[in-house]
């Protein structure tokens, strides 16, 4: 082996030593972080969130240490620096090796002794590992000395590992209620995994969930009171545990062990019933004959999961005081998802419907809740009526033809599509072409407007043909148009009450209101189209379509809907001439406030107690919160914040939360614009 080869071997030995030393110090740094945090955790319990971040921090510390050391000793890669290092160890070289390396000529060190270069470098590499390895041994010893589970809580933190923590604090010593872990197992039907909560103060869980409280030591002498039942925990492997089931109402679970006690607020989460929407048929209808097939479609969804979906029907026959009913279910389907679409069809022929019969259809879905359910969700009901022979003249029930309103809707939709297409290709068209095509759409829009006007005129008792040939040149007809517009404006802009038989507006105007809105919008659309501005016309056209759609959905005429206008002569009924004095004092009804009053009294007492016994205040607020969860959720939420703040020792936040609770308790300010009739004012 020549001198340069030995130099490279020595450099390799030194580099290896440096890398190994950096790795060892990196490991020491990472382990030190873990051990340090574990030591802190033994004294002061650290939260799961903090511990979960420590592992990443330890790895980062290790990598940073390795990188720093490697950077510091990077000169080992330089042959000149290694040569100088060897010159220092072997002064007899008299800089011949450095000169040889710089000149690249091995002959400068031809006579030098090179045998001990490599061994010297290897010894140096080994020596550099002593310190980090010693530190590693020391860290390992500390790990072994640490209480069982202390390092595991930092290395692999998980919810519920507070039972594994070796407590040294005075408060934790001898108190079997701390640490405390709650394991929440949702009902089996949900298919959800169990969760674990350390030091639970509030447990929010689905109604029917199985909650198991666990603690350290034997369960002898510990008592748990929940919903009036007293339970004693069982013991296994020096751990006590006691299970209970989450009911449908909020409750307080009290744990006691001699003088130690804990209260846990249990807030049930209700499994909501499925939400079902009947998509088809989209609205009620009247059929001339009970033939054909009706397609049924419905959307269903549930917060946990659907189990069964179906359509239900009821056939009601008869009139006046005599009705008979038949019912049944169709399209039942097992579901296993959070959302589903139900579909089926029903043949009217098979139901043996007679004139006057009403078929009520709705969709129903059930969830898999076998604890408090099943939750049943139902859609809105659609009524399909078979017309009686005497009604043929008064209701349009042609088998396939759409009603006028529906025809209008289809045409309006087509016009919108035409206008949109024109607007899209407008940049490529000459202005004359745009105007010509826009005029064409405007003409159709005007025809459609006249049709809608006819419907409205007929219903308002006017002459349908008056609008048929409307032309600005004909003043007589223009008057009709003016009148129609006045009525339209009156109905659509000035009044907002849809149906109130006590007001001045005739019900027939109210029924026609959407069509009048459509008429107005069509008017504006036609004007813009005639000006060759389809983009300006489109919003009006869409408004017209929406109004027609509204009319189609809303129009529902009850032939017997108007009761006879009987007006009672109050004076006559009271035998006129009698001095009736003033009528009895009446006040508007308010929700009974006895519960709120009691709650306010409790709250005041608790606040008063805060200066004397802060710990009792936390428990009292928790109990008050449980009582208020159902009736006063805002108040309960403020109490929850107050409890959290008190536990964290944040006095300002607690004061703020208690102030919010007080405001929630007091309710909104009552403003009266005058003195009450029986007020105490002199």
């Amino acid at each position: 082996m020549n001198a340069f080869a030995r130099l490279r071997a020595a450099r390799f030995a030194l580099a290896t030593g440096i890398v190994l030393r950096a790795l060892a110090w990196g490991a020491v740094a990472a382990i030190t972080v873990v051990v340090g945090v574990a030591l802190v955790d033994v004294v002061v319990p650290l939260s799961l969130e903090i511990r979960a971040r420590i592992l990443g921090l330890a790895v980062a510390a290790g990598i940073a240490t390795i990188a720093a050391l490697a950077w510091r000793d990077r000169s080992v890669l330089s042959a000149e620096r290694v040569a100088l290092w060897l010159e220092e160890r072997f002064p007899s070289l008299e800089y011949a090796l450095v000169t040889a390396v710089e000149a690249g000529d091995e002959r400068f060190v031809a006579g030098a002794s090179t045998d001990r270069w490599i061994s010297t470098a290897q010894r140096r590499a080994v020596a550099s590992l002593r310190a980090p390895l010693s530190a590693l041994v020391a860290a390992t010893i500390i790990i072994l000395i640490l209480p069982s589970g202390a390092v595991a809580r930092v290395r692999s933190p998980r919810a519920g590992d507070s039972l594994d923590r070796a407590g040294t604090s005075r408060a934790g010593r001898g108190n079997r209620l701390s640490p405390l872990v709650a394991e929440v197992a949702p009902p089996a039907y949900t298919g959800q995994a169990s969760t674990t909560i350390d030091e639970p103060a509030d447990v929010r869980a689905l109604a029917g969930s199985r909650v198991t409280l666990r603690g350290r030591g034997s369960g002898d002498g510990i008592l748990m009171v929940a919903s009036g039942d007293t339970l004693q925990p069982g013991t296994r492997d020096d751990r006590w545990s006691v299970p209970f089931t989450v009911g449908s109402r909020p409750m307080a679970v009290r744990l006691s062990d001699g003088t130690d006690a804990r209260i846990i607020a249990v807030e049930p989460i209700a499994d909501n019933a499925p939400v079902v929407t009947l998509v088809t048929p989209p609205h009620d209808s009247v059929f001339r004959a009970p033939v054909g097939r009706i397609a049924l479609t419905a959307d269903a969804s549930d917060d946990i999961g659907l189990a069964i979906g179906a359509f239900e029907y009821i056939v009601s026959s008869g009139e006046g005081e005599t009705f008979t009913f038949r019912s049944g279910t169709i399209g039942a389907k097992r579901l296993d998802a959070k959302t589903a679409t139900l579909s089926a069809s029903i043949r009217l022929d098979s139901l043996a419907l007679k004139p006057g019969d009403i078929l009520h259809l709705r969709a129903v879905a059930r969830d898999a809740n076998d604890i408090s359910g099943p939750g049943v969700g139902t859609s809105e009901t659609r009524a399909i009526r078979i017309a009686r022979a005497g009604e043929y003249d008064s209701i349009a029930v042609e088998a396939a033809a759409p009603s006028d309103a529906e025809k209008g809707m289809i045409s309006q939709r087509m016009l919108i599509m035409l206008a949109e297409a024109l607007q899209q290709k407008r940049p490529r068209l000459a202005r004359d072409t745009v105007v010509r095509e826009s005029h064409s759409i405007a003409a159709d829009q005007k025809k459609l407007r006249r049709t809608v006007g006819d419907i409205v005129f007929t219903r308002l008792g006017g002459n349908p043909s008056a609008e048929e040939t409307n032309d600005e040149e004909n003043p007589q007809l223009a008057k009709s148009m003016t009148e129609l517009l006045a009525r339209a404006d009156s109905a659509t802009n000035q009044s907002t009450d849809p149906v109130d038989f006590q007001g001045g507006e005739a019900p027939v105007v109210a029924v026609n209101k959407p069509l009048l809105e459509a008429y107005n919008a069509m008017w504006d659309a036609a004007v813009n189209l005639e000006q060759g501005e389809p983009d300006r016309a489109l919003p009006h056209m869409r408004a017209a379509l929406a109004a027609i759609q509204k009319a189609r959905q809303a129009e529902r005429l009850y032939l017997r809907g108007a009761p006879l206008p009987v007006v009672i002569d109050i004076d006559k009924a009271r035998l006129k001439g009698k001095d009736k004095g003033s009528s009895s004092a009446r006040r508007s009804l308010t929700v009974s406030d006895s519960a709120a009053t009691a709650r306010a009294a409790r709250f005041a007492k608790i606040v008063e107690l805060s200066s004397r016994d802060p710990r009792a205040v936390v428990d009292s607020l928790l109990l008050l919160r449980i009582d208020a969860l159902t009736d006063a959720p805002t108040f309960a939420a403020a109490l929850s914040d107050a409890v959290a703040a008190l536990r964290a020792g944040k006095s300002d936040a607690a004061t703020s939360a208690l102030a919010r609770a007080r405001r929630a308790l007091a309710g909104p300010a009552i403003v009266q614009d005058s003195l009450g009739r029986w007020g105490n004012a002199p």
């Binding site: 009821i314 009601s316 005081e321 009705f323 009913f325 019912s327 009403i358 009520h360 709705r362 139902t378 809105e380 009901t381 009524a383 009044s495 907002t496 009450d497 849809p498 149906v499 109130d500 038989f501 006590q502 007001g503 001045g504 507006e505 529902r556 009850y558 017997r560 809907g561 108007a562 009761p563 006879l564 206008p565 009987v566 007006v567 009672i568 002569d569 109050i570 009924a573 009271r574 009736k580 004095g581 003033s582 009528s583 009895s584 009446r586 508007s588 009804l589 308010t590 929700v591 009974s592 006895s594 519960a595």
Partner: protein, 208 residues
Amino acid sequence: MGKRPVSAEFVFATAQYESGDWDSAPLLPANIIDTIARYTEIAVAPTGVIVPLSDDRMLRYPLLYLTGHLPVRFSDAERRNVRLFVERGGMLFVDDHNHDIDGTFHKTATQEITRTVGPLIELPNDHQLYSAFFKFDGPPTTSHELNGWGDNLVHKHLLAVMRGGRIAVLYSSKDYSSEWNYHPDSKRFMSIDNTRFAVNVVVYALSA
């Protein structure tokens, strides 16, 4: 038609709902108004109103009367308003015009009430309702019950959903809708006014 202000006088309101024949007793409101005027000093409007349950204006009235023969299925808006109405202290008086315990109105209405407001319970016959104005030993029977029409039963109790100690929903299978559905002038032919119980319902609704 302007907006109706919250009135200082009692206005008898009939609830209009989407699914059924809510107007099956058109003469009843006038008859009750006449009765209220005859026996009490309550300031009462001479005509009733019909108010859709889906319309927020239903919240203006302390008492809503609901009847019909056909299935009762509230829409989402109706359900929401009824819930709000009851929470605000209103009283919903539901009467089965079929007077048939197995009838579809009964089944669907009780189902819908339970779903919307809460479960119905039997109202004790010594409840404050029966002494709110006239004294009754329980709900007065109707001729339709006694003549065997409907379910052949004489119902001993009314049903109710209670809220904060008061009646939030009063449910009757007695068919007062048939019993009271006549022109008030016809009362002169009666030895005993059979609408007196309506006074108790109204007085209770206004004072409880």
